[in-house]
């Protein structure tokens, strides 16, 4: 009995709090994306010189729907979001953070451009992939999973060089987890000369060919296209990379407003094999100066007047200056939804509540009629 209680207790803490959007997929520009997390937070808009509330989140690529064409995985993909918004025309900013298992299995593409700074590339992601331009340039993600390149029909140029100044923000450590397990049907792997000495964990150096910087430039120009390459070069460094989706902010201007800090949950999630769990949910640490309390929440969304936090199964509402809203019923609309569209009351509850209200109104009306009839 005691063991069962312990197991239940452990399971309770291991269950990730799943946001509404987690696992939802959408297709854009020939690629299928899966959302791993999403929130609404203020972002400073330099052009308009003001803060705007934006849906931001993280996605990974789970498939491709086109063939024989050039496909570029963008570092950020914009797509209409329905998360906590009534206005569905707003485009959410999703940071692309990974490539899912078998995402490009058996595909035939002219080119595939992969951004720097991915967190993972899943099992057999490029299995039997054919790149007709001849070279697939792969900036290795933090975690390269099992047999990623097996059966590929083109050269693979692994890019993790600091010598050639391509990705200053690339992960310091790259883990190849059985990436080269099946050695039978592997393509040729190339790195820039100096990179061989910086080969990360789990890489078999004997597999590597190395090439000079000029050869590398030629290949990238051919693979990415001259225009794209030159555009990258114009910035001095190759910054075609995903940036952090979440960042710290205050709900209002001024030092007295609650300060929200975004963190990723424990790295234990990253040890899970499934794609979506390799992108852990962020957690939001809220330092509320109004209440003087510091709390950690699984979910955070805000609008122009209030913000909502979720801890476990419980939702809390605050005004933007941090004052807790205790009368949550007053926030709900007629259909039982909160200002962020969350169905707080079920339809039955709303129906019952309306019926009770109507009964109460009827009763009050009857009482009023009786009072009038008896002259009170």
């Amino acid at each position: 009995m005691r063991n069962v209680v312990i197991i239940l207790f452990v399971l309770l803490f291991c269950l990730p709090a799943v946001a509404d959007q987690r696992g939802v997929s959408f297709e854009k520009d020939g690629l299928v994306y899966v959302i791993s997390s999403e929130t609404i937070m203020p972002r400073w808009s330099a052009g308009e010189n003001k803060r705007t509330l934006k849906n931001v989140g993280e996605v990974y690529v789970s498939g491709v729907t086109v063939s024989d064409s050039s496909v570029a995985i963008p570092p950020i993909v914009l797509y209409p979001s329905t998360f906590c918004r009534k206005d569905t025309t707003v485009l959410a900013e999703y940071n692309v953070r990974g490539i899912g298992a078998g995402a490009f299995r058996g595909a035939r593409l002219k080119n595939l451009i992969i951004p720097f700074g991915l967190k993972f590339i899943g099992d057999e992601a490029f299995r039997d992939l054919e790149i007709t331009s001849g070279v697939l340039a792969v900036p290795p993600a933090t975690r390269m999973k099992r047999n990623v390149f097996e059966g590929m029909k083109s050269k693979v140029l692994l890019l993790y060089s600091r010598n050639v100044n391509i990705n200053d923000d690339a992960p310091l450590m790259i883990y190849f987890e059985n990436t080269f397990e099946n050695k039978e049907d592997l393509p040729d792997f190339y790195v820039v000369h100096g990179d061989r000495n910086a080969v990360p964990v789990g890489m078999d150096r004997r597999l590597l060919y190395t090439i000079g910087k000029n050869v590398w430039v030629d290949w990238l120009r051919n693979s990415w296209g001259k225009d794209f390459y030159d555009r990258m070069l114009m910035f001095g460094v190759f910054r075609y990379e995903a940036v952090n989706a979440y960042s710290g902010f205050r709900t209002l201007g001024g030092n007295s407003a609650p300060q929200i800090t975004c963190k990723y949950k424990s790295s234990k999630y990253e040890k899970v094999g499934t794609d979506i769990d390799m992108l852990p949910m962020p957690e939001f640490v809220c330092m509320n100066f109004y209440t003087g309390k510091k709390d950690t929440y699984d979910e955070f969304v805000m609008n122009e007047t209030l913000f909502r936090c979720k801890k476990g199964e419980k939702y809390s509402y605050f005004t933007l200056d941090g004052k807790p809203i205790t009368d949550t019923e007053s926030l709900l609309d007629a259909s039982g939804r909160d200002p962020f569209g969350l169905q707080v009351r079920t339809k039955e509850e709303v129906k019952e509540k309306n019926a009770a209200k109507e009964r109460e109104n009827n009763l009050n009306k009857k009482v009023d009629d009786l009072k009038k009839a008896f002259g009170f």
């Binding site: 000369h193 004997r206 190395t210 090439i211 000079g212 910087k213």
Partner: protein, 331 residues
């Protein structure tokens, strides 16, 4: 009278034997469709000989250094051996393979390859393998119609090997039409050269595959590598008397660069100049070292052992004769 006649006959036989093996500077040796020019020659003894067994002028052989000056255009496979008749092949002349077309080429380790040596060469197997070449001329691999594989184990002086001079005396990059390949571990030896940024490298296994392909996977052809070892160039140090003898001369032969006559490989093959040098030490007085340019063992029946040695200092144009026990002979 009989004694004089016997001496003359003996001397003739020995001298004829010496000249049979002898090549001197500037001579051309032709073998298997390849012509070699003797750059320097000197006398050595066979490795099997010891000071105790050197009992006459017939124990000395001609050795030295050769430069390849011509290769038959019609040869399908070209094998340049490291040694030809006790002469070491040290270099290739300018434009040696210019405009040639061969299926496979085997090269030994070399001291130099002249300017444009492999320029315009077409290799049927698709790759030219070069081993250690200490010095390279200008535009050595210009428009080489094949991949170039550097099978090196030490630093090479690339110089202007990948550059060629244009008419306006300006150097421009000149590379093979194919790619330059090298073993990854050896990249350090070409770091700093322009070709470093243009080359491919592979670790041992993959590099061996490249070389095997360059020789069309022909194991027999690849065994030419064994010729680089175990050849007999002869011993370059010897004594005129047995080891236990307290008297006698120790002779050490070498070839030296002569600056006054042009640096060797300065402009490589044209101004190439090497000279033999014999360092002579008397066993009685080992502190004194004498240098000569030429050494001639002379048969002489009047001597106790039947021969004596003669050295020539060409600069001073002086001949010096010694008996075998190291005593200077009167003229």
């Amino acid at each position: 009278m009989m004694r004089i006649a016997f001496t003359i006959i003996f001397a003739f036989v020995l001298t004829s034997r010496l000249f049979a093996d002898g090549w001197s500077m500037g001579d051309v040796i032709e073998k298997d469709g390849i012509s070699y020019k003797v750059l320097v020659s000197y006398l050595v003894v066979d490795r099997k000989e010891s000071p105790d067994t050197i009992k006459g002028p017939d124990k000395f052989y001609c050795s030295g250094e050769l430069m390849v000056i011509n290769v038959d255009k019609n040869l399908k496979d070209v094998v340049i051996p490291p040694v030809v008749e006790r002469f070491r092949v040290v270099g290739l002349t300018d434009s040696l393979f210019f405009g040639h077309e061969h299926d496979r080429i085997w090269l030994p380790e070399l001291q130099f390859a002249g300017s444009g040596c492999f320029a315009g060469l077409k290799v049927g197997s698709g790759a030219l393998v070069v081993h250690n070449i200490a010095n390279l001329g200008d535009g050595v691999f210009d428009s080489l119609d094949a991949d170039l594989i550097f099978d090196i184990t030490k630093r090479i002086n690339i110089g202007n090997a990948f550059r060629k001079k244009k008419e306006e005396s300006r150097f421009v990059f000149s590379a093979p039409k194919g790619v330059v390949k090298i073993k990854t571990e050896m990249l350090k030896y070409i770091r700093g050269c322009r070709v470093y940024d243009d080359c491919y490298s592979a670790t041992s296994n993959n590099f061996t595959k490249w070389i095997r392909k360059a020789f069309n996977g022909d194991e027999a052809f690849m065994k030419n590598a064994l010729n680089d070892r175990g050849y007999n160039l002869g011993m370059r140090s010897y004594s005129t008397t047995p080891v236990k003898d307290k008297n006698g001369l120790l002779i050490v032969v070498s070839a030296v660069n002569v600056k006054g006559l042009g640096y060797p490989w300065g402009t490589l093959t044209n101004d190439y100049y090497r000279q033999s040098r014999y360092a002579v030490i008397n066993k009685k007085n080992r502190r004194k070292l004498l240098y000569y340019q030429q050494f001639i063992p002379v048969p002489d029946a009047t001597q106790k052992k039947g021969w004596y040695v003669k050295f020539i200092d060409k600069e001073k144009e002086v001949e010096t004769k010694y008996t075998l026990n190291g005593k200077q002979m009167k003229k």
